[in-house]
């Protein structure tokens, strides 16, 4: 049974149909990526799975049970965490407080344990734990956003554009951490515009175009696929 299974999902904003019948699934332990141009419906799909948007139709099942109708905070309790596009850390709170918010659904004892693991993955966050998040660099904010999402100990971590606006060296670092998190046992659903990086870390990928899935395959297959190369990898 797939960990997450999305079937025939339709989502719209008013009259605009953003997602038109997407189906995909993720197995335990995988890194799966959704790639595609701006407006393809990638973020909309993640936000729908996370419970921030209500779909028009379709199904979203996690560990065999539907997530539809659950409010976002209940979905976090089920073991899904979304690290949103644009990081959206709480800029007026400290690094430690941001991480504490990430573990909001868990007990203090559980959080103490998880916090150590998060600090192991992101030593820089530990150094800056008393600093107000708004004063961090973009790369550090991304690490904080990821660390914060990990604080709920998700079975499935959804990352929305983690490389956005970061210098190439930091993009490398972030993707290395994504790989590392996956090896430590977290299943990952990754949405990226940087298709090259995404495909090179992903086990499988889905290519989205105007709200539908155009292609699917392993990361390695799609990296050498002619259509994908032309459209998303710059020839």
């Amino acid at each position: 049974m797939a960990l997450l299974s999305v079937k025939d999902l339709h989502v719209s904003y008013g009259a605009i149909k953003a997602v038109r019948g997407i189906s995909f699934d993720i197995d335990e332990g995988e890194i799966v990526t959704l790639i595609g141009a701006n407006g393809a419906g990638k973020s909309t799909t993640l936000n729908t799975v996370a419970g921030l948007i209500k779909p028009d139709s379709g199904s979203v099942d996690f560990e065999g049970e539907t997530l539809l109708g659950l409010r976002a905070h209940r979905i976090v309790e089920r073991g899904l965490a979304l690290c949103p596009e644009g990081r959206r850390v709480f800029t007026q709170m400290t690094v430690a407080e941001n991480l504490e918010m990430g573990g909001y659904t868990r007990t203090d004892a559980e959080n103490r344990e998880t916090l150590e693991k998060v600090y192991d993955h992101f030593p820089r966050l530990k150094e800056r734990r008393g600093q107000v998040a708004g004063t961090l660099s973009g790369g550090e904010q991304q690490m904080l956003a990821m660390g914060r999402a990990l604080m709920s100990k998700p079975r499935l971590l959804m990352l929305d554009e983690p490389s956005m606006g970061l210098a190439p060296i930091l993009v490398q670092e972030i993707f290395a951490i994504v790989k590392q998190l996956n090896e430590a046992g977290t299943t990952i659903l990754l949405v990226e515009q940087n298709a090259n990086m995404a495909l090179s870390v992903a086990d499988r990928a889905y290519v989205l175009e105007i709200g539908t899935i155009k292609k699917t395959g392993t990361g390695a297959e799609l990296l050498v696929d002619d259509d994908v190369r032309k459209a998303y990898l710059g020839g």
Binding site: L52, A72, H73, L82, F90, Q92, E100, M101, Y104, T105
Partner: protein
């Protein structure tokens, strides 16, 4: 004489501060100017009157029931009137707040009549002797209670899990949801705390002015709103400083024998702040939420 005036300023300012805290907290979390907030005080004053003058019960019970009634009323107003409009344009919810305010004022008039009721004294102790000075006990109590309430509120907001959730929701509601924070209950909690402070304010106000009337919350609420804007709306220390400034401004104007001008001076202060520093003393420019 001078000490008495300072104490008067502190007393009035403290009451404004307590009410301003509720304005500022609700604005901080859902960007709503809750114009019904002042009328909550009226509810609290009537409850005290009911409990003491009508039922003849203990003043301590009157305090507890007044604060409880205000807390409940604040949460109820949010659930019934504002929560259904959470995703509506901000103007709709603002107009609703004005509607709720009129509803409460006219409701009170219908139930209790238009005449003011006399709230009995909560305590027989009217003055306390400090050295040579005879200080008004309600004034001293008001100042002490306000200090304690402000410190307690600051601790709640800075240190507790719910307080941190409030700050998270006020900064980014969507991101807060993704943390597993129940946004609706966090907003309810904010209304509860703000209204409880208004309840305390109601008791202190009734202690000082011994009256309950349907429209008593109108001017008090408006001035507390001025205090919140003066201090920087959304800021907790700002609400306290703003409240004290408004209180002292009124007392100074009255002491100069110009008491007919005291309301005008408060609003003049507001105009000056809006012209010179629109974000208020402690305010920072807030990013409009998209």
């Amino acid at each position: 004489m001078f000490i008495t005036q300072v104490l008067n300023g502190l007393q009035l300012g403290s009451i404004y501060a307590l009410v301003a805290l509720g304005y500022t907290m609700v604005y901080g979390i859902i960007l709503l100017l809750n114009f019904a907030h002042g009328d909550i005080i009226m509810v609290g004053a009537y409850v005290s009157w009911l409990v003491m003058a009508q039922l003849g019960l203990n003043p301590v019970l009157a305090v507890i029931l007044s604060v409880a009634a205000c807390t409940l009323m604040g949460v109820l107003i949010d659930k019934v009137a504002y929560a259904p409009l959470r995703n509506a344009p901000r103007l709709s919810i603002l107009i609703t707040a004005i509607g709720v305010s009129y509803f409460l004022e006219n409701g009170a008039q219908l139930v209790f009549g238009a005449d003011a009721k006399v709230v009995p004294a909560y305590t027989d102790l009217q003055t306390i002797q400090v050295g040579d000075l005879a200080l008004s006990f309600p004034s001293v109590l008001t100042v002490i209670v306000t200090i304690v309430a402000t410190v307690a509120l600051t601790l709640v907001v800075q240190k507790t899990k719910l307080g941190k959730a409030m700050r998270a929701v006020s900064e980014d509601m969507g991101a807060a949801r993704l943390m597993g924070i129940n946004v609706n209950s966090t907003i309810s909690f904010t209304f509860a705390v703000g209204s409880a402070l208004a309840g305390i304010g109601a008791v202190l106000y009734a202690m000082a002015y011994t009256q309950a009337s349907p429209t008593m919350g109108m001017m008090l609420g408006t001035k507390a709103f001025v205090a919140a804007v003066l201090g920087g709306i959304g800021s907790i220390p700002g609400a306290v400083v703003g409240g004290l400034l408004v209180g002292f401004a009124e007392v100074i104007v009255t002491a100069l024998g110009l008491s007919v001008w005291k309301d005008a001076v408060v609003f003049l202060l507001l105009i000056i702040v809006l012209v010179v520093r629109p974000t208020g003393i402690f305010g920072r420019t807030m990013n409009e939420k998209v």
